[in-house]
């Protein structure tokens, strides 16, 4: 019954973590020069209540099933991602023999969900946002896979629990110094956060979400923070030693590490300008992909 306990823990982490992201983002915004927006602890909840009460917008001839499905799908992908994260050697929802591959698949499917969100509205700005995101989504996925294969090498397994166990002596963040920075960039892309927010950007008046209001938008925003949480869980597992740590129980260690990754992402999202799509693609393929090769070779030589 460990798996069912872990499932409760996973959904709890999604909810609490998502709330923590929203609060942290506001606190960081305050530190970065935004005016005080009222109680940072209450504001995410109040905003959620407002979105829930707002009418859901409909455009003239949208693809309605897909439009409503896309946010839910993105949320489901986030939940599946977090379900792969082991909270302790035994406390895990699904310690799949090929967990790393499943995470790669989730990233690829996330691109589909985000594209669908932009496409279905049948509105010019949302459409541009969706297409633009695909350029990014199809570029970062390779970087992500290479970096994660790097952590698989010493573990000799595609299981996330093995990946953690292989970090008993030394965390991957030290062993493969290029890995975590590259993976964090992937995380920014996956959640279209800050500099890589090509989907819902300012210049498109909200991009894929520009025509969305009310409960669907609430689900979309929840899904986005949930994806941040799931990503931080994977990042903490793959690079920061997951549940490993002295004194405290494993799940707590993991939660702390996830929080650290979340804070880093939230901060990065606020301090960097948005990249031009063309430059994103070139950056991913010409700079980050070769860097992930280097990371892989480094990891390989180190593992032997």
């Amino acid at each position: 019954m460990m798996a069912w306990a872990a499932m409760v823990l996973t959904f709890l982490a999604l909810a609490v973590g998502g709330y923590a992201v929203a609060v942290a983002d506001r606190l960081i915004a305050g530190a970065c020069g935004w005016p005080h927006q009222g109680n940072a602890w209450l504001a995410p909840l109040a905003r959620g209540a407002w979105l829930y009460r707002q009418d859901a917008n409909v455009t003239e001839a949208p693809d309605r099933p897909a439009w409503r499905l896309a946010p839910a799908l993105y949320l489901a992908l986030a939940a599946l991602g977090l379900a792969l994260v082991p909270w302790s050697p035994t406390l895990v929802v699904a310690d799949l023999a090929t967990g790393v591959v499943l995470w790669g698949s989730l990233e690829a499917l996330a691109t589909v969900a985000i594209f669908l969100h932009g496409w279905s509205a049948n509105a010019p700005l949302a459409l541009i946002g969706g297409y633009r995101y695909v350029a990014l989504g199809l570029s970062y996925i390779l970087v992500s896979m290479f970096v994660l294969i790097g952590v698989v090498l010493p573990a000799e397994s595609l299981k996330f629990s093995q990946v953690v166990a292989a970090q008993e002596e030394l965390w991957n963040v030290v062993r493969q110094p290029l890995g975590l920075p590259l993976f964090l960039i992937v995380g920014l892309g996956l959640t279209f956060w800050g500099p890589l927010n090509l989907a819902d950007s300012t210049d498109l008046a909200g991009g894929t979400a520009s025509e969305v209001s009310g409960p669907p938008r609430l689900v979309w925003e929840i899904a986005r923070v949930a994806m941040l949480v799931a990503f931080s869980g994977i990042a903490a597992t793959a690079f920061l030693g997951g549940w490993l740590g002295p004194w405290l129980p494993g799940p707590l260690w993991l939660a702390l590490k996830m929080l650290a990754v979340l804070l880093a992402l939230a901060w990065l999202g606020r301090v960097l300008p948005r990249l031009a799509p063309e430059r994103c693609v070139t950056l991913m393929w010409v700079v980050l992909l070769p860097l992930s090769f280097v990371d892989l070779i480094w990891a390989g030589l180190e593992a032997l």
Binding site: G38, W50, D55, D203, R274
Partner: protein
């Protein structure tokens, strides 16, 4: 009751406001951006309150109604120094910028707690073209591409692509005059293929932007150089805020606004410039492109011309400026990036001039004569086609770099005289 409990919670949310800026509406924008409890949103779908700031000319009332109707219920409108449209008798009007935030918060709370009904729709509930029951399948369409399925025709191939020779469909629409990322009032008919602009035709120019009163005074009598230069720096800083917000660096933009609000001759730009560089604004943001040719740059004048290396600045003619060691700062290239380097350099120059002018015993300008406003040499009649350069400049650019280019240009010709209906409005701080 669950709903009222949710409503009370929702009432405490930061108020999402869609600011629709009319003539002189920007004076409401800057205090609002720095005010707490209010979030500025870019799409009416994300807003709870529509803030109409400033006078909206009659020929834009239709567009105003369109934006108004696009807010999902429940929503309210607040009119800042603007007359509510007929049909919105229940709307609230406010003229004092100091109470603006409180009014917005109050409106939102009333909406959420049910004390106020949602604003009524202004436009008739009709499809753009009749479609129901028409056409082959009763949805308005005919054949594969014909008819008006669900009320609109389908996008069709209109022109050859400007870049790679694959001719696919082009998408034509009119943007503005209230698109939040364009200068208020600027409306254009745009044709896109993908996200590359194929053609850009201006439909209405940007509303004139009120310059600081000191520029008007400087036309008539000598004014303190310090005051003039601070006003200039303030203008540029606010401009910087708009561009930084577009680039995704709103935090730094707000710092620029704060700096503009508290500007003194002793202020300096070093901190902001350092943060901009460190954040990678010049390297990462979409600042490539948008290079003006020499002729256009000369016609636009001001920082845009100087960024292209054209030595034009009326301040050079002023003996007192020369005494302060003034020499126009010149840039190179004349593209979007060069314009921002230029603007930052000019802000620094203005602050330095202001400081030196104070040291020299509050030096004044020599007197009436050629005046260099922040957007170029003073013109009696604002050039109506300041945005005309866009039609040649933007085709071939991607959406984001096109918007970044527009944001780097002062397309709203500065009018030193206050806009109509705003004769007694003072600059709110």
């Amino acid at each position: 009751m669950a709903v009222s409990w949710l409503g009370r919670l929702a009432a405490r949310a930061p108020v999402p406001v869609y600011p629709l800026l009319g003539i002189g509406g920007e004076r409401a924008l800057y205090p609002l951006a720095l005010a707490g409890r209010v979030t500025r949103v870019d799409s009416p779908r994300h807003a709870s309150v529509l803030l109409v700031a400033g006078h909206v000319p009659v020929h834009h009332h239709e567009a105003l109604k369109r934006v108004h109707d696009q807010l999902p219920r429940p929503f309210a409108t607040l009119w800042f120094r603007s007359q509510p449209l007929p049909g919105l008798e229940n709307a609230r009007r406010v003229d004092d910028p100091a109470t603006l935030t409180d009014e917005l918060v109050a409106l939102h709370r009333e909406l959420q707690t049910g004390q106020r009904g949602s604003s009524p729709r202004l436009l008739p509930d009709e499809p753009p073209n009749p479609w129901e029951g028409l056409g082959d399948d009763g949805h308005g369409g005919e054949g594969m591409m014909g008819g008006t399925p669900y009320g609109r025709p389908m996008a069709m191939n209109m022109q050859d692509d400007i870049r790679d020779g694959l001719t696919l469909d082009s998408l034509t629409f009119r943007l503005g005059p209230f698109y939040p990322l364009l200068p208020p009032g600027l409306a254009a008919e745009i044709t896109l293929q993908g996200d590359v602009i194929q053609s850009w035709t201006n439909q209405s120019p940007a509303y004139p932007r009120a310059l600081d009163a000191v520029f008007q005074t400087a036309r008539e009598r000598p004014v303190a150089i310090a005051e003039l230069e601070l006003a200039r720096a303030r203008h540029h800083l606010r401009h910087l805020y708009r561009a930084l917000r577009l680039a995704g660096l709103e935090g730094l933009g707000l710092k620029a606004l704060r700096l503009a609000r508290e500007l003194t001759p002793a202020s300096h730009l070093d901190g902001l410039r350092r943060q901009l560089t460190r954040a990678g604004f010049f390297r990462l943001a979409a600042l490539d492109g948008g290079a003006l040719d020499a002729e256009t740059a000369r016609r636009l004048g001001g920082p845009a011309a100087r960024a292209a290396g054209i030595d034009t600045d009326r301040r050079s003619d002023d003996a007192h400026y020369r005494r302060l060691g003034f020499r126009p700062a010149l840039g190179r290239g004349g593209d979007t990036r060069a314009r921002w380097h230029q603007k930052l350099a000019e802000i620094e120059q203005s602050l330095a001039l202001a400081g030196r002018a104070v040291d020299e015993g509050d030096l004044t300008t020599v007197g009436p004569g050629g005046l260099e406003t922040p957007c170029g040499p003073w013109r009696e009649r604002p050039a109506q086609d300041a945005g005309g350069c866009l039609e040649a400049l933007l085709p071939g650019m991607e959406w984001d770099s096109a918007l970044a280019t527009i944001a780097s240009l002062d397309l709203a010709e500065g009018s030193a005289s206050p806009p109509p209906g705003e004769a007694h409005a003072e600059e709110p701080q």
